[in-house]
Symmetry: C2
Subunit: 247 residues, 2 copies
């Protein structure tokens, strides 16, 4: 058996999310269906670094699967892509040690969140960026971002719909990039809770638009109460950008 690690890119717009479900088009469902065809009807289970919700995109999702087939790694992407819909593409494959696990070996992730602030609701950006037509103060958002970096209990920035008990995570980097009417928030951390990036972004936007003061962040973290933070920003602006593995 070979363990194959894949880097996968998808436009999440037309998917009910990453994880397979009985009714609904999912990324996992499409990839497992393609692999089943390649393996002549045999089921092949795919393991991802984590789920993404309906409408969330990925530029560098990572997954792995095991296969008895002796296909050279550089030929795997075309073999799978030929059987996938055009909104999912395998970018790269490599054969890895059988100890590698897309989820459990991950040491960190980068998410990006895209926002556009133009007055006009651009139809071409509606599925790929959050339309937030308000004036934003970069300094306030950057100041607040500094207070989020580090190791904290992120209960206030996690959806109540989660079973995870330990809500302590480390954010290594938050940077905010703006050009013309577009903003991009980059988040790098050792792990992110359910909806955490979307709630962080929603809160930073509330700070940028003056609804929350930048130095409220510390109190919001300490409160460990979801209702203290800002709204969950919509799925369409979110991209799983990269997954990090040691070595």
């Amino acid at each position: 058996m070979n363990r194959i690690k894949c880097i996968v890119c998808y436009d999440g717009t037309a998917f009910a999310g990453y994880q397979i479900q009985p009714n609904g088009r999912t990324i996992q469902g499409c990839i497992e269906k393609a692999l089943k065809m390649i393996h002549k009807g045999q089921d092949v289970k795919v393991f991802a670094s984590g789920r993404t919700d309906a409408g969330v995109h990925a530029v560098g999702q990572v997954l792995h699967f095991d296969s008895p087939l002796r296909i050279p790694p550089h030929k795997w992407p075309n073999a799978i892509n030929g059987l996938l819909p055009r909104d999912i593409r395998i970018k790269e494959c490599e054969i890895v040690d059988s100890s590698f696990h897309a989820r459990f070996s991950a040491s960190g992730k980068e998410y990006r969140y895209k926002v556009h602030t133009s007055a006009f609701q651009d139809p071409f950006r509606r599925n790929f960026s959050y339309h937030y037509p308000y004036k934003l103060d970069m300094k306030w958002m950057e100041e607040a971002a500094k207070n989020l970096i580090g190791t904290h209990d992120f209960t206030s920035f996690c959806s109540a719909k989660t079973d995870v008990e330990d809500k302590v995570r480390t954010i290594e980097q938050i940077s905010i990039h703006s050009s013309q009417d577009e903003l991009e928030f980059h988040f790098i951390g050792n792990g992110f809770l359910y909806n955490m990036v979307r709630i962080l972004t929603g809160s930073l936007l509330d700070i940028g638009s003056g609804k929350i003061s930048p130095n409220e962040i510390k109190r919001i973290l300490e409160a460990k109460n979801r209702s203290m933070a800002g709204k969950t920003a919509p799925a369409a602006g979110l991209y799983l950008w990269r997954v990090f593995y040691d070595n």
Copy 2:
């Protein structure tokens, strides 16, 4: 009655084209439905500068309609947009003289065609740009473009599926812009025949990739034979960018 001129933007991906049809989601159908609601059930016919095919986008389509309602022009876009799906947006409205006609008053149009040449089939560009993963020679395409500018019989660059008899048109400008792995062809002319921009682009790509020699263009024009020109480039890369009116 007021005649209202509108500038309209749409992502053509999920439409069966501009023109209304009994089965199939169309831009005209969506806009006329919205106007009918605003006019309390009364039919309002909309006239566009021209049709666009299924999958073709518009950044600056122009249309007009007549209304007895006394809505100030700057309030029309929100009134209509509130009743439109998010893949169509009215950008601007103005009240014009009753002699204005979106189609017959037009003096010219600009179309743009987007191409990307990366080896990777980017899922995020699949509906918005033509994936053409070949090396392109800019000089050859620019030389050929020069030979297309001017007043010619464009029979060789027009789909056979047309009733138009006079196939003489004037192309005022063709410019080709490249950055990283993206190319944009800009076409300005007094009018374009059915599929003309897509056949011109397909032919320029054949020239850029060396399938047709740049100085073949003159012979292709003279032949007045569709089969002499290149392939019709796909709908997804095409944008109706602007419509020009004198004054």
